[in-house]
Symmetry: C2
Subunit: 479 residues, 2 copies
């Protein structure tokens, strides 16, 4: 019986048109990465499970796709089937027979079991493999190392609209330099890519981890930095009052929250906000350092000028707070599209420490391919020619005509024209319908007469016009 | 404690230089595919396990990388730990306690266990996912459908020199047409790609499944087609006598083997071999049909002319006999390199039948990326500029100079020049060494004097020459 053809949940097939549109975005990003001096690397889809676990938090670990070992790796497990409950008992400390256990306990046991027999897993992001790469190849690399990487990652997430189990990440990072010029360049790089995509009107939001630490310090909530920033991050969504309520509920002192008032009232230009922050953070050395860094980046960008994006200070921006240590960046789609973030990044210290290479500071950004795709689609911003496939189809009238046509096709291809012959000498109408459905702009008809006179009848499929042309004319008309 | 950074066996990291060289091959192939009218599709890395199993033979099934389901999928297994031996007993028919079982039995049990809890697997090749895609999207596709696909595949093979667990396949196929013009085009396509790669001297070997069936028929070994072709396929390696011995040992009749003599004596041009085959296969309708197909392709190719490859008839060629039904193709690297096949393909019927779409004939070819890479490397055929990264590095002398430099860099990038600033104002010597190690051909020095005179000192790193230039001159010199 035939199988019903389908694919796993959360994965996608891409049609020729979709591939062409995705490649348009990939190529634009790649072109900018390379003009900015970034070099490509690629890492394997599979990493050792031990390379990945413990790097993405508990939830992240759960979402790593583990791979089955080859058959013989399961032998010890099977050979000890009677022992298994004891092993699990030791690991998790339970001594009921397995059919009496709750599903939570069974899940915990599952994880132990999986970890004990799986050794490899699919890449969860590009950052950890990059850190592993840098540590592993440190002797072949010239630092500072500017690398880019555009590869798929996999997450065993619950599939939902716009969230997939396999998706591409496009990352550029520099490691081995603390220079703020790099942070400046990443702002330029975002501007460069989105300008090249003709996506005018994006906002590049800038913040600095040190600002957030500084604020927490001056309001006496240093030990509550995460609670504080999580609440602050919601300002856009839930408004000032609710943010204050949430902070209060997290035991951030009332008088500290009062000190925050100037922060809620921040407005005006980048410069005037910087000046307010200097006042607010006067008592925090770290906070002032953060202000200084923001100021450096803003001054440089003002001098260098962005092509189409706007740089904005956003003290509520806190993405990836766990590992960012300086600059925090996020890009918002133009306001006409409801999409949220289409890219983000920041500066981190000690990326590679866990792999034995200490003191490597880095900064990097990422582009959200799927969301950029949706934005370009929503705004109808893909170039009209992006999914143009074949330029010209030769109608097949029989063996002699086909051979004559293939000789011309060879010349056309030599001239970089995408040309093909309809493979069978079926009814002309059927071949014309095919050309139409595939949006092929030109067809060539070679019949008896053309064969004798060594000419070609060229038909423009949109205007319906027909011309009798020589091969040379054909090439120049279709090109 | 720090983890030792390493990757799974049989997988690879690719350095910037390797990525550049691989992309050179990919881009060349893609360019030919598109000029020949093929359109790209992409399928997910993961397919349902049921889509893949049973398509690659028993050995293939074993080599499919299975993916662990999310935690809760293991619950039933764990909850029934005491039952498991019974389940396995039912499935495999054994009733010893598991610790008394042989490793073969344990392997068989492993497979049952894995299949019972794993539902997804990594793509093993591009052909089955393509068949699944065509059946699934048949209503969106215009037939004949010319698609190409360049994506990684995974095999849990024992890693060895030149054999990897993750590697790319580059396939082009046409489905929905039985026209032999397609087979002709694939010969041209191979020629086009290898000519574009400047890999002169490849041989395209051509055979036809019907020839092999015909020969088996005339020597009375129709029921031993596989044994017969496996033996014949070894002619190059083990010679005529050993081939005959092997056939005899497989119960192919002595007088049948005698009838093969003209086959062993085949030589001369494509045409003269065709004539011998007509004699040998006179009694086989199917065999003569195969000869006719070979002749059609050879006549067309003689008329159209290949650019650099040679087309050869090879009646011993039998690759993928299980599914090829007509044309069989294989490409050999130039004789100066010991590499064997660098590509292959053929015509098949009923590719999509298993997914419920009957009567779809197809023909396709594949390029062996890793081997082509090794051949180009061995012959030193990669273009010198292939891994050229940054064109020009600006030396960093301090804040004002850096800002001045970044303004110039912005202009250079606008002119498609790959330019970067050394991020820190460290000693000039260190920056120069960096430029040297990265093979950057030009550096620009902007010091106090240049800043005042609005000029740039451009240094050619290979000749050591230095010029003082304007921005406009800089752009034209570096471009």
């Amino acid at each position: 019986m035939a199988q019903k053809p389908r694919i796993p949940k959360g994965t996608r097939d891409f049609s020729p048109e979709q591939v062409a549109k995705r490649n348009y975005i990939f190529n634009t990003i790649r072109n900018s990465f390379e003009r900015f001096g970034f070099q490509p690397i690629e890492t394997p889809s599979m990493e050792l499970l031990s390379t990945l676990t413990g790097k993405y938090g508990e939830e992240g670990d759960r979402l790593i796709f583990k791979i089955f070992p080859r058959g013989q790796k399961l032998r010890p497990l099977l050979a000890s089937l009677n022992l298994t409950s004891d092993i699990l008992k030791e690991e998790i400390g339970i001594d009921k027979p397995s059919h009496e256990l709750s599903s939570e306990t069974l899940d915990a046991m599952s994880n132990v079991l999986v970890s004990s027999i799986s050794e490899e897993a699919l890449r969860y992001d590009l950052t950890v493999p990059f850190a592993r790469y840098v540590a592993q190849h440190q002797n072949e690399i010239e630092f500072p190392f500017k690398r880019y990487q555009m590869q798929p990652v996999w997450r065993a997430d619950r599939p939902q609209k716009g969230r997939f189990r396999e998706f591409y990440q496009c990352d550029a990072d520099v490691v081995g330099s603390k220079s703020l010029w790099q942070d400046v360049e990443f702002v330029q790089l975002y501007d460069d890519v989105f300008t090249a995509l003709k996506l005018v009107g994006v906002t590049i939001k800038l913040n600095n981890r040190k600002i957030l630490s500084g604020i927490a310090e001056v309001i006496g909530a240093e030990d509550k930095l995460i609670d504080f920033t999580v609440a602050l991050d919601k300002l856009d969504k839930i408004g000032e009052e609710k943010v204050k309520e949430e902070m209060l509920s997290k035991d951030i002192p009332q008088d500290g929250i009062k000190k925050l008032q100037p922060l809620f009232d921040l407005s005006g230009s980048f410069e005037s906000q910087i000046n307010s922050l200097k006042t607010i953070l006067g008592a925090s050395k770290e906070g002032l350092k953060g202000v200084e860094e923001l100021e450096f980046i803003n001054t440089a960008i003002s001098n260098l000028e962005l092509k189409s994006a706007t740089l904005e200070l956003d003290v509520t921006l806190a993405r990836g707070l766990e590992y960012y240590t300086g600059t925090i960046l996020e890009v918002s789609a133009p306001k006409s599209v409801q999409m949220g973030s289409i890219g983000g990044g920041g500066r981190y210290d000690d990326l590679t420490g866990v792999f034995g290479l200490k003191n490597v500071s880095g900064v990097g950004i990422s582009f959200g391919l799927d969301r950029i795709y949706l934005v370009l689609e929503a705004l109808n911003f893909f170039p009209e020619t992006v999914s143009k496939n074949t330029d010209v189809l030769f109608i097949n009238f029989g063996e002699a005509e086909a051979l004559f046509s293939l000789k011309a096709i060879k010349e056309l291809r030599q001239n970089n024209i995408k040309a093909e012959l309809y493979p069978e000498a079926v009814k002309t109408k059927k071949q014309m319908i095919y050309a139409n459905k595939r949006n092929i702009p030109f067809v060539v008809l070679v019949g008896d007469e053309e064969l004798k006179s060594n000419t070609y009848t060229l038909k423009n499929m949109s205007s319906g016009e027909q011309f009798k042309v020589s091969l040379k004319e054909l090439i120049s008309k279709v090109k």
